[in-house]
């Protein structure tokens, strides 16, 4: 019995079946040669008539008690007939080669037959008369050999190659306290620099003067070859200049702030003399440094965010100035106020540097870069570079103005600052991972 039902028939029988007079035995070969096409057609018809039709093979998928899927193929094939009380024995040719563990499926009504693997025979002594169904169950073992590649975690591939920059650690923290104001700064070299062993382009500096807190953050632009120098020059220069200009203007500024009513423009006028003039002097210092080193000033390109703050009787005064894509913000729970205008370029990493075109051309435009506010004692002021802002706020200015986003940020910072070693904790926090965001990160917190 062959489950595939291959058939054979002699040419003479074939012709006879089709009602054609068959030639003599000796002439068959010649006859076939001469009537090739006709015989082909007869053979096709015969096969179609005799072979099991496709629709007689039914496939059914069911699930066993243990959850294995079983595909049952019903062949419309009939085994040799048997007889009650007489030994039955018939060989079955199985359709696949790599078959394992063939079993005759148990059947309550008809259980006298079994399958003998060695001889591939169905054997037994039938006890009852009638049409029976026999199901042979077997397992086919198949193997699929597949290839795959596992990518490394990009986080583990980043190298941390120390830069050879003197006087500038790759990561840096500073804490200072004056009266009731604490300033905490942390700056971390971006992974893209660490990977190449190049120095950190961000810089920060804080200082105190006559009860004023001065905080500066500068982000040297990646496209400028010596921007790490530029950011440092600007920080050092502007702090120096602000002290000088505060000396000249602070009394007038404070009396304006403390007056019962004041004009914004008057205060901005004073801030102009303190902050903008100092920023301009810092820019002039940049050009000098560039000249001395036979560089273009654009080789030192850097942004600038600067804040001055003073504790007044029951509140704090804060004034700020910014060129570039950093952020200065005042935050207390449920309220965030941006104290800056953000210069965004058309492309990521592109912004307006302090030495950018037309920065120091229009007094009105410069005044628009000045912000001030009197804030409650529990309000904190935060300065950050785009290395933090872009990944943290998803490059989304709406999120940057959202108090809930800021709450999350502040909660994380508070946790880090409350630890035993806040410097280490903050540097670790600055290392948060976001794909494609590997810039230097600097934060200064004034509270």
């Amino acid at each position: 019995m062959n489950l595939f039902g291959s058939k054979s028939i002699s040419i003479q029988q074939l012709l006879k079946q089709s009602g054609i007079e068959s030639p003599n035995k000796d002439d068959v070969a010649d006859f076939v040669l001469m009537n090739k096409e006709q015989i082909k057609k007869l053979w096709k018809d015969f096969i179609q008539k005799e072979s099991p039709q496709k629709e007689n093979i039914v496939e059914e998928v069911s699930t066993t008690d243990v959850g294995t899927k079983v595909k049952t193929v019903y062949h419309d094939l009939t085994l040799d007939n048997g007889q009650v009380n007489k030994k039955y024995e018939t060989k079955v040719e199985l359709p696949d080669d790599d078959i394992e563990s063939v079993e005759l499926q148990e059947n309550k009504e008809f259980n006298e037959l079994r399958f003998d693997t060695e001889t591939q025979k169905i054997i037994g002594i039938p006890q009852t008369e009638g049409d029976k169904e026999v199901i042979l169950e077997y397992v086919i073992r198949k193997q699929l050999k597949l290839k795959l590649y596992i990518n490394d975690d990009p986080r583990s591939l980043w190298k941390d190659i120390p830069s050879k920059q003197e006087n500038k650690p790759d990561n840096e923290c500073a804490v200072s306290q004056q009266e009731d104001i604490t300033v905490f700064s942390a700056s971390r070299r971006g992974r893209s620099h660490a990977q190449k062993g190049t120095p950190r382009d961000d810089h920060f500096l804080t200082d105190c003067f006559n009860g004023w807190t001065i905080a500066v953050v500068a982000d040297g632009m990646g496209s400028a070859v010596q921007s790490n120098l530029g950011s440092r020059v600007v920080c050092e220069s502007i702090v120096h200049n602000i002290k000088y200009n505060l000396e000249l203007n602070e009394d007038e500024l404070i009396s304006l702030v403390e007056a019962e009513s004041f004009e914004d423009q008057e205060i901005k006028g004073k801030l102009y003399d303190i902050l903008v003039k100092s920023a301009h002097s810092a820019y002039v210092e940049m050009t000098k440094v560039a000249q001395n080193r036979q560089l273009k000033v654009s080789d030192l390109s850097t942004t600038l965010s600067v804040v001055i703050m003073k504790q007044l009787q029951d509140k704090k005064f804060v004034g700020s100035f910014q060129v570039g894509d950093g952020v200065i913000a005042a935050y207390k729970p449920e309220e965030v106020t941006l104290l800056c205008k953000i210069d965004r370029g058309e492309y990521k990493g592109q912004t307006l540097p302090l030495n950018g075109r037309d920065v120091f051309i229009s007094r009105d435009a410069l005044i628009e870069r000045l912000f001030f506010n009197t804030i409650s004692n529990e309000t904190v002021v935060v300065l950050m570079t785009d290395g933090i802002i872009d990944p943290y706020f998803d490059n989304d200015d709406e999120k940057l103005k959202d108090k809930d986003e800021w709450k999350q940020l502040w909660d994380e910072i508070e946790v880090a600052l409350s630890k035993n070693k806040p410097e280490e904790e903050m540097l670790e926090w600055l290392n948060f991972y976001k794909e494609g965001e590997h810039d230097d990160r600097t934060i200064t917190i004034i509270q």
Partner: protein, 221 residues
Amino acid sequence: MTRKLPVYIMVDTSGSMSGEPIQSVNNGVKMLIRSLRKNPQALETVKLGFIEYNSTAKETETLKDLPQVKEPVFTASGGTCLGAGLDLLATCLKRDVVTGDTKNEVKGDWKPLVFHLTDGYPNDNWEDALARFDRKSVNFILSCGVPGSDRSVLEKVSGGTDKVLELESATEAELSEYFEWVTASITMATNSVATAENDEVITPGSLPPFKPTVTANEELF
């Protein structure tokens, strides 16, 4: 969403490339993928696609993020239908490169880099295909000629004399050096992504030199 840098490798797989050259290309490409996979910046930034052309053109591997890229296997036979290759490249660029939307301030992928390798003179209407090709859809096509190629064709395809490279032979050593150079160029391009000031992260002029020339020993002269 992070902007990606699409890179296409377009290879002439005509019959003349069979044997050592195509075997070397396969090895070179394998080396390129394995080496880029070790670079975290590339792993996050690069999208890689492979196109080949002989009597027709086909996408050996569709443009995919580097972690998903499978090593292609090129086989060489047939003609040199560069035109078909260019047309297919244009189709792939249009379909697979994410374009920005200036209205909604959404920035698409960086302009794609195309590294093209050939050893023969094209035998289809490649000039028509080149005329159809929108050169602004890519940062650059850099053509590399193996002996047998025609420099003037390469210059036309690349759109400049400075975007053509000629190998001395189609040997394993030479092609392996070429793919090392392509790897270094892609690496350099991914490093420039952070400081890019427009859609093109790198210019052909700032790519690393191919086979840096040995400087003369001054003391000898």
